[in-house]
Symmetry: D2
Subunit: 367 residues, 4 copies
């Protein structure tokens, strides 16, 4: 019998960390060894997340990462106890704790943005904090599993993508890669459920402030923008200039879900086809046809977040607006799952040679 | 003492019609004489809409509009009893009942699309029904009050705009009119609450089908598209070609509200300015600065539907995405109010020489 | 022309205080002179409550009530500027600022519990704080307008009832007063929307903690319990012993609304009637038949919170469970309106000899 | 390797049936052979329930049960293909199709009420339809797994309990069985999410009719009442008279969840204890301490539906109201899971000798 992968979570009481915990507690080939939460240390996880009652006796451990010597020592002790640590922490925290001593002890799957962008100046511009460990940016692998599966296997540092990012990149990548849309015209409009805003006690996220309302936010300066741009720029067909796009997130009143609607003008190559829609369809099928967790809805197929909720699926559809020679790309995923926790575990599965679906093969349960 | 305007409603048991009834029941200068609902005829309105309890004894009257001789006679009798009829009816119904005999008796405020588009072939293409009264298209006035106030005063047929349309046009008009955006790049992305889908008993609109989910629908072919295009085409600065744009509506889980986020490239004229954002701001102020029901949030002001809910207000903001030389236009309104019922009453007020705010000067009541 | 009543609000940035502001800004016979919010002082009210944009230029003023000399002086200055102050403040604050000097300057409508209970020991037991001004308890009038209208006219201190309380008392009072139910068997089960929990930034009230869930809370020890008991004990027919009852509040995912379902065994007097339901119906009609803001739905009439939302109405229904010789009493109101702000203004109207409906005669606007 | 249990579903396109399908598609020891839906026959199940995309190619088959000869023949053919049929059908349908010929072919797990009540006259009184197969009532086993586990193993007809019923019975049974509460005073007040109302296209269940509102319904005559009464009457300690209780269901705006709050006076036996709460706690522990799917929250533990959503768990808490000598019993479950589909599969597991948790061991996934 194969030994289970031993895993720990730093930042386990946030919404993302709590989902990783939930998944690992039922994972056939992994074991949750520790769950860290400084503000809840000593408290049973099942007292904070009542859904975990009966499934774990774990108490939250202190996961102080204030950079002190003591914190560093504690971190290495935690690292000694596991094969992999998930960091579901605020920006800067994971970079601040990164070291060779840590990476000798375990591998890191970071759910923050610290290791997603290759260019440290871009990171520091958008996140407005100094990067504490830029020397590790080169080796970190961007964990969009379907795109980087091979590189993921052997990395020590896995940079798990953001929720808007996973949804946006997967929706746009095939037509970009195949030169079917003009990236200079790309606009990504996205809707998010409220869990994306985290579990912090902020007035803006109170039930009565969010319920029965919709709004855009972070217009022209949301931090996920450069991540989408960078990843699309890598695509063959993206052209020689880096992709620059407008990204507009919106908050809508639901717990979970990202819905992306992206717009771009079709290229002459696409418009020259007898049936541009058919060309687009084939592009998606060639890129994703064999991907288990990507479900293609085809032309005029409109994804709905309820049909991916609770799962690792991404649903993708598209439409050709002939009147305007424009392509509309649509995708839906669960921001806490494929947009965070279940993709992190998917990456863990790849990194440790497990079945990629192990522990995350949930069927969404609408309604 | 001035006599009150006598009003009737055909289609009074739908969500839009019911709002008109509610508004008229408290209107200082108007009186609700009849409320029609074929399927509820003989039932007290307050039995269907419990919110009206204590405010009206009206029973729904038969408002059959099947085109029969009997229906026609009944309609004229209803028309004889009022100064104005609001028709909150399915597409085709108002055109089907239009006649000189009717217009001699009362004025018509139609909340359907029957008289919104000037070109009958565009109507028939998008709505896929034959127009029964194209001879009245020329005289009908498009009732976006802030734009057509003068023409509205004397019209016999007021074509009350759609909810998506009011929000989209008002958001985009100033920069289009002032030649600040390239209409060939215009994309309108909109979110709607569920009441926009009406009160018909359809599985797709059940609570559990809509709640906790978001989706696009009507992609590339929603019927409000040509209405937005036509009105924007009238704007000075729109260019000589008719405006053609991509419009994508989305359904989000809330009762009320339209949120529009529109995108277009800035023109060279706009980009040549020292501060394009300042130019845009002035454009909005010049067009709307004196409008009571339009509230300008300025640059980076993001409207929220909760802050207009229950009112006749439209909140408008914008942002300039310098990296992409693109303008983002945003607006919010209540689809049942400024997007339907309260704008209809606003138009009635103008048509009958009343204070434009009479009966519709609600302050939104967040939360 | 009559001079307007000048009013100020202490605690104007909470949900209750903000509703009072909204109501007063459109009140025909009152004027909002100041709105206090210590944490928002100097900020335009319309920046915090975007719904008020275009309706007021008021900046929040400091309404410090820390008991210091300076605070006391500031309070008297505020009091000098108005006829009435609404205090929408945490428990203890209003009692802490009460004085003859204050009451010489203006009248007080307190939305906290400080002056609701006549017995200071009951207050101190349930609220677990010392009462700072027990000498004013005797003269304070409990502001359930429909019950105490006459006493309200002349009071200096109006103790505005709680939301659960108004709903519970009005539902149960007629059968208690007429000796039709055994108060020893009384159970009040109530549901509340989330705005009742206030606008404080607490994790427990975040959207994702509350949405898609229901729970009881404060079981056996909710502070509104003694208020309901005391008021019902005053009723003729309540018997000679003070009423003692079980009260269980629940939180359900909606912005507004209280729904009360109360249970009690019918007395022999009620059971002796040919038709106990008819007796119950008459009891409600005798008590409330002439009340404008109470709407009686009769036997088997089930109130729905959506039909009172945004209004000062209370809807009341009942059912007789013959199999169990038990009465079920039901009521619905809007917790921020009849349960707080609009009842406070209703009381102000009575206190200042205005039309009782002035400024609060809203028709609920479902959906 | 053991052969999988072959299962079919009649009424597979309703919310309950669809959950059974979802569960069986991932069940390690069972196989979904057919899914019936007359109105969707020939349509892929994944077209109606988009969440099932990628998980099944099944087309809905005709499951006509109109009593015709042809329907009867078709039913037997379906029965020949499986070991068990789940019937998630309207009242009367399962009784109408019951026969020896059917039971020779497969076992039946009925999610309707047809075989839940032993007394046919009680069934016909509350459901107002004639029972077509009363001869099978005696052998049918009431499938509250935790109560009737032993009888369930060998039954041919499993009467799967209702959602309100499972929650109510499990909350009340221990104190009833141990003689700690007076059943004559029992009141069960319950809240339900909207999925309990089914997927039928009814105006009353539209999003805008249900959202932002709460109401009681079926007051004094809800059909689950006699089911709760009958099962509690079987309990030792219930006394010699059948239990009669008041049951009041409420609709609250959430997709899933039942929350029960039940009230009863403590008996002298309970009040005589030094600490009645301790006695109650022990009663729950003795009855449920070893049950995997029942989680006891103890005194003052208030269940929340979010913490059981998506799972087969029932969370139970209680409180003693000393002032009133009354016990408050609380429970929460997911109406589509333990209240319908997952309990049905739990019963299937017992009936076929599988691990009772197989395929239904979901951890709830709050938020």
């Amino acid at each position: 019998m194969k030994e289970k992968v031993k895993a720990g979570i730093i930042g386990a009481a946030g919404y993302g960390g709590a989902q990783i915990a939930r998944i690992l507690l039922a994972h056939p080939d992994a074991e949750l060894v520790f769950a860290g939460s400084r503000s809840n240390k000593g408290t049973p996880a099942a007292d904070v997340y009542g859904n975990l009652r009966g499934r774990t006796q774990l108490l939250y451990v202190d996961d102080n990462m204030d950079g002190s010597e003591e914190a560093g020592k504690m971190l290495l002790e935690l690292a000694d106890s596991v094969d992999v640590i998930f960091t579901a922490t605020p920006q800067g925290a994971c970079a601040g704790m990164m070291s060779e001593a840590l990476l000798e002890r375990c591998r890191i799957i970071d759910l923050s943005a610290d290791f997603r962008l290759k260019d440290v100046s871009v990171y520091e511009k958008w996140y407005k904090i100094e990067h504490k460990a830029p020397q590790y940016l080169a080796e970190a692998v961007y964990g969009l599993t379907e795109i980087n599966r091979e590189k993921i296997r052997d990395t020590r540092i896995l940079a798990n993508p953001g929720c808007y990012t996973t949804s946006s990149i997967l929706a746009c990548l095939p037509p970009v890669a195949d030169g079917l849309i003009d990236t200079g015209t790309l606009v990504v409009d996205a809707l998010s459920g409220v869990s994306g805003a985290g579990r912090g006690a902020k007035t803006a996220n109170l039930y009565c402030e969010v319920n029965e309302s919709a709004k855009a936010y972070g217009v022209t300066n949301h931090r996920h923008t450069p991540e989408i741009e960078e990843q699309l720029s890598y695509a063959k067909g993206a052209g020689t200039k880096p992709v620059t796009l407008t990204f507009t997130p919106h908050l809508v009143p639901m717990n979970r879900g990202i819905l992306v609607t992206a717009y771009a003008s079709l290229t002459e190559k696409a418009l020259a086809a007898d049936d541009p829609a058919d060309l687009i369809r084939k592009s998606y099928e060639q890129h994703y046809g064999s991907e288990y967790f990507i479900r293609l809805l085809g032309e005029k197929g409109c994804p709905e977040t309820r049909f991916v909720e609770g799962s690792n699926y991404v649903d993708i559809g598209f439409a050709v607006d002939k009147r305007c020679s424009r392509l509309i790309m649509m995708s839906a995923l669960d921001n806490l799952m494929k947009g965070a926790a279940s993709q992190a575990v998917q990456n863990m599965n790849v990194m440790f040679g497990l079945d990629e679906k192990a522990g995350i093969d949930f069927i969404p349960d609408a309604p």
